[in-house]
Structures are given as structure tokens and as C-alpha cells.
């Protein structure tokens, strides 16, 4: 998350994808970096051991949220 906030501060749109158990971590880190309204794209856990086909499916499902966060109103600085 701190990587995404750094990238955003440099003017490049960024979105963070993380798995469910890290939702609170991501939100707290965003707030700590000055982006209290930021939300991450949340995926079910775990992803690390998903098959390539499962990863493709998750990516397709996550894409609309990623685009909205990176280019829409999802990443408002506070």
C-alpha cells in the first residue's frame, strides 16, 4: 500500500489488490500515508497457491475495480 501511495504522489495512477485478511492493514496504511478514503481491491485468500487458470479468473473479476480505483474516484487524497 505504501508503494501505491508513493506512486500516486508522483502522479501515476495506482491501484492495490490484496487478499481479504489484509483489508484492515491496507486501509490503515493508506490512512497513515494521508489517503484515508482509499480502498483496495479485495480478493479471497489465498492467492499465492492458486493455479494459473484461477489467477486469470480473479484478474478478470478484479479488473473493473482496478480501473475505477486507479482512474476514477477511488483514490482521493485526504
Amino acid at each position: 500500500m505504501h508503494n501505491a501511495t508513493e506512486i500516486e504522489k508522483r502522479g501515476t495512477p495506482a491501484a492495490v489488490i490484496c487478499t481479504q485478511p489484509f483489508a484492515k492493514t491496507a486501509a490503515s496504511m493508506a490512512k497513515r500515508q494521508g489517503y484515508s478514503s482509499y480502498r483496495a481491491v479485495l480478493l479471497p485468500h489465498p492467492v499465492a497457491n492458486a493455479t494459473p487458470e484461477e489467477v486469470q479468473k480473479l484478474a478478470r473479476e478484479a479488473l473493473p475495480q482496478v480501473l475505477e480505483i486507479a482512474f476514477g474516484n477511488g483514490f482521493a487524497s485526504s
Binding site: H2, P21, F22, K24, T25, S28, M29, R32, Q33
Partner: protein, 358 residues
């Protein structure tokens, strides 16, 4: 962002409860850090309270001398322990941690992999502070060991913001996260101590820091030769290794003395362990692992290397990855292997800082 919230209370026992309620503890009661107690630590160290020792950009946090003093009081330290805490913080700030990428230090505090922060103390300060290097070295009973290690964890939680379950996301963690501070038994070791190995004078006290997993026991009550003891150590190293890199071998005094009787140097010990933890493979296996991409690390944590026309996979970059320490009593054949986590440092270098006398 440096905040210094305070509580007001006329009753120390009530203050202890307030610190629990505010989430400022490691789960155990803390000593309420009154201004006069903190002042005593600052006066002892003789350092500027506002001096920044460590910055963690990921959580926008900085640890000043004063913040360290507050948490050292909370941990139950005496003022004379404080220079050890300061030197350890300087170790954590060393740019070699992460081989140029400081994110690795943050990861050692945050990662699901779960390292604790090990401190190894050398030099005369061990005796001055009654730091334990013998029986029960990883266990309880000695104020300096217990509270110095604890001060580091309280700093991590309260100053660096690494609250367990929020930013510290270790899947299981380990008990070393309460306190993980040992002294080396220089007196019973047949070898130069850790700090002398790295060019410090024997009379200069120093502390070595490491992002460390839990000790994995080496049980060898039978062997009396270096080969016998170190074969047992090598077997455990294969299991205990995490990612190929620095790995600590903590030999109890009994094992170290036995090896020393046969005249083996530290270099010989490290060389033996390096060669006994790698396996030779065929050129075909080498190519399947990526061929000329020397140093391919697979999920197993194995490092593939080519040396003098032969191919191997092992758990270390070189024999210099072994950090050899002597600690634990001369009363049984139990040693330990401690692997790192997110502890990337140059092979053969230790992150070791002088403990400054006042």
C-alpha cells in the same frame, strides 16, 4: 510524524492499566514512563533526545533517542542498559540491511514470514550488566536480557507503528518477539568472539542485530568430534534454512569446547557446514533450474550454484553466510540454528555496532 501521547495518573497501578487500554504494551504490564525516569535514561546516555536514530518510511515513523528511552523505561530496563538499545537501533538503520533496499528492514517487521529481532551482545558490557550467555541463554531470569529485548519490541509497536495484527502480519510469529537478546560466552569459546571476528577490539562492547526466526534445536549428546557435532548442525540447518543467506549457528559451550579441542578454526567450521548443506547435482538439473542464471532461488529456498565446473544446490551463498556464536551452558549437548527472514545482508558481513560508553 512523532507523537508523544501522555496519560495522567497519580496511581502507578492505574497507569499500568491505562497503558494496556491504549494498546501501548506487548501484552505484559509496563513500567509507567514518568518524566523523571525517562530523564535518568537520557542523562545516562548523554545523547540529544531529539536525535533520530531510525526512520521507517513505510509507516512514516521515526525513532528518536527520547522515544527509545520512553520504551526502555516501559520495558523495565535500568539506565545503564540504554546504550545497548541505542546501538541496536543504529544497527537496524544500517543501509546494508536489504543490500541497498531498506524495504527489507520494514518487511522483517511486517511480513507474514514472521521474524523477531535478535540482539547478540559482545564485550565487557556483558559482565557490567550481568547479561546472560550461559545456561538458559534464550530463556528467562536475567533482567538485562529480558528488558533490553523487550525494549526493542515496545519500540517496534509504539514508535514504529508495527501493531500485531495490523501492520505486523506474521502468520504465527514466535516467542522471540517478546524478547530476543543474548550475550556471547566469550570466556568459554575457543574462538575469537563475533565482534573481534569483524575487527572490533576485544574490550569494545558491541551488539549484532538480525531479523531472526526461532531457534531450531540441534540435539547431539553423543559426538565428541568436530565432524560428528557439525554433521548434526548441518542436518538441522537444512531444515531451519529460510531463504539462502545469513544463518546463525549458536553453539552451546559444550559443543564449542569439544570442537575447539580438535583445533578447528571458525573458518574450518563454516567451510564444513557450507559443504555439508549443499548437494552436487548434474549439469542437466542445473540447466533445468535456469542454467547460467547462477544463484536461482526456488520456492524451496535452495540456491543453485556453479563452482569450478561442478553444480550444486544449497542453503547459503558461501561459507561466510554462517554467523557462528557461542552461547548456552557447558552442561549438555544442545545447540541451535537460527535462520533469518527478510535479513538480506552482504555475505560475511554482520550488522554490528559499537555500544558507546558515556
Amino acid at each position: 510524524m512523532v507523537s508523544k501521547p501522555t496519560v495522567e495518573s497519580s496511581d502507578p497501578l492505574e497507569a499500568i492499566e491505562l497503558y494496556f487500554e491504549n494498546g501501548w504494551t506487548d501484552g505484559l504490564p509496563v513500567v509507567p514512563p514518568t518524566e523523571d525516569k525517562v530523564r535518568a535514561f537520557l542523562d545516562y546516555a548523554g545523547r540529544d533526545p531529539g536525535e533520530v536514530l531510525l526512520t521507517v518510511s513505510e509507516t512514516s515513523s521515526r525513532c528518536t533517542v527520547e522515544a527509545a528511552a520512553i520504551n526502555a523505561v516501559m520495558a523495565g530496563c535500568r539506565p545503564e542498559y540504554f546504550p545497548v538499545v541505542l546501538a541496536a537501533l543504529e544497527g537496524w538503520a544500517d543501509p546494508r540491511w536489504g543490500l541497498g533496499d531498506r524495504n527489507y528492514f520494514y518487511i522483517s517487521l511486517a511480513s507474514t514470514g514472521g521474524s523477531a529481532q535478535l540482539l547478540i551482545v559482545n564485550g565487557p558490557i556483558r559482565n557490567e550488566l550481568s547479561l546472560n550467555s550461559g545456561i538458559n541463554v534464550f530463556g528467562p531470569g536475567y533482567r538485562a536480557n529480558a528488558t533490553i529485548g523487550r525494549a526493542m519490541r515496545l519500540i517496534i509497536i509504539n514508535v514504529l507503528g508495527m501493531v500485531p495484527g495490523l501492520f505486523d502480519m506474521s502468520v504465527q510469529g514466535h516467542p522471540g518477539k517478546y524478547s530476543y537478546c543474548i550475550a556471547e560466552d566469550e570466556e568459554q569459546s575457543p574462538w575469537p568472539p563475533l565482534h573481534v571476528e569483524k575487527g572490533f577490539a576485544p574490550g569494545q562492547s558491541a551488539v549484532t542485530v538480525m531479523g531472526a526466526r526461532a531457534p531450531v534445536p540441534v540435539t547431539d549428546l553423543r559426538s565428541t568430534t568436530p565432524e560428528g557435532i557439525l554433521s548434526s548442525v548441518a542436518s538441522v540447518m537444512r531444515v531451519a534454512a529460510s531463504h539462502a543467506g545469513t544463518i546463525a549457528v549458536v553453539l552451546c559451550a559444550q559443543h564449542a569446547i569439544e570442537i575447539g579441542k580438535h583445533g578447528w578454526s571458525k573458518e574450518q567450521v563454516k567451510r564444513f557446514l557450507f559443504e555439508r548443506t549443499r548437494d552436487e547435482i548434474t549439469e542437466v538439473q542445473w540447466k533445468e533450474a535456469g542454467g547460467a542464471r547462477s544463484g536461482t532461488v526456488l520456492d524451496s529456498g535452495l540456491l543453485f550454484q556453479e563452482a569450478e565446473g561442478r553444480y550444486y544446490h544449497g542453503i547459503m551463498r558461501s561459507a561466510d553466510d554462517v554467523m557462528l556464536v557461542v552461547a548456552g551452558g557447558n552442561n549438555g549437548g544442545f545447540s541451535s540454528v537460527i535462520s533469518g527472514w527478510s535479513y538480506w545482508i552482504p555475505s560475511g558481513e554482520y550488522i554490528i555496532k559499537p555500544i558507546r560508553a558515556r
